[in-house]
């Protein structure tokens, strides 16, 4: 990537649209793959983003995924119109899920979504207002980030 070049964009997400679920993360992964970012970082960013996208599809009515890629970091912010998370600390626990059975039958709702986002991020933040929605911010540092 050219020095100081910033790449940004956004995707609209529709809750319940399982046909296109993951398409935004897939496209973002493709964008990152063409930017001379190490495959390990691309993979971490893709996993965190995909989990966040699936949460919007599963729980919210709609959402927007913004991304910003600079020579120093990958930042993805997901803003949704959803039910909100009453207890974020509880939601961060591995295995905790409020997803209904039919979501589990599709392979989701393992209660690993938020933990996976955190695991793959260098900085991770969740803000939520019950009845309004949730904002998730994922930052992966291209330089001096954690290695797996």
């Amino acid at each position: 990537m050219a020095q100081n070049r910033h790449i940004e964009g956004s995707f609209h997400l529709t809750g319940g649209d399982f046909t296109n679920a993951g398409a935004a993360s897939s496209e973002l992964k493709s964008i990152m793959s063409h930017l001379n970012i190490s495959p390990d970082l691309v993979r971490r960013a893709a996993i965190a983003t995909f989990e966040a996208e699936m949460n919007v599809i599963i729980h919210a009515v709609a959402g927007v995924m913004y991304y910003l890629i600079t020579p120093d970091l990958i930042k993805v912010v997901l803003n949704d119109m959803g039910p909100g998370i009453p207890d974020i600390e509880q939601a961060m626990q591995e295995g905790f899920s409020t997803a209904p059975d039919w979501i589990r039958e599709m392979g989701w709702g393992a209660g690993m979504g938020l933990p996976n986002m955190k695991k793959n991020s260098d900085e991770f933040r969740v803000d939520s207002v019950v009845g309004e929605g949730t904002t998730v911010e994922i930052i992966i540092k291209i330089k001096e980030g954690k290695t797996q």
Partner: protein, 119 residues
């Protein structure tokens, strides 16, 4: 171990050939829960063995850099799933074996877990 060797061990049928029979498979993930896969698959070049049969499997494989998916118990992926795998270059294999047996055979043949433990 090559993907073709894996198919042979599992007596699998190649449902979609992404043209990568010589792809080296270094480890195996097995789950029907996608987030568990995303959590535990710390190694790229893994094979996924699953009983789940929908497009979510292909998306997850793509995101986690998994090059091939094995469906157990003769579960055949539908056209939509095959089409997505084709676009993403992911090979699909169907075996009549159960997940336990499929994993057991590959473990006995020397493949380890994609978590990097139990080697």
């Amino acid at each position: 171990m090559t993907l073709e060797k894996v198919r042979e061990i599992l007596e699998g049928e190649l449902v979609l050939d992404a043209g990568n029979p010589d792809t080296e498979i270094t480890s195996v993930c097995s789950s029907d829960l996608m987030s568990d896969l995303l959590h535990f698959s710390s190694e790229p070049k893994s094979l996924l063995i699953t009983g789940l049969n929908n497009t979510q499997v292909i998306r997850t494989a793509e995101i986690a850099d998994i090059k091939a998916v094995v469906f157990v118990l003769d579960k055949r992926p539908d056209r939509e799933t095959v089409e997505m795998a084709k676009q993403k270059g992911i090979t699909l294999v169907v075996t009549r074996l159960s997940r336990f047996t499929a994993c057991g055979r590959l473990y006995a043949a020397g493949l380890g877990s994609c978590t990097g433990v139990n080697r």
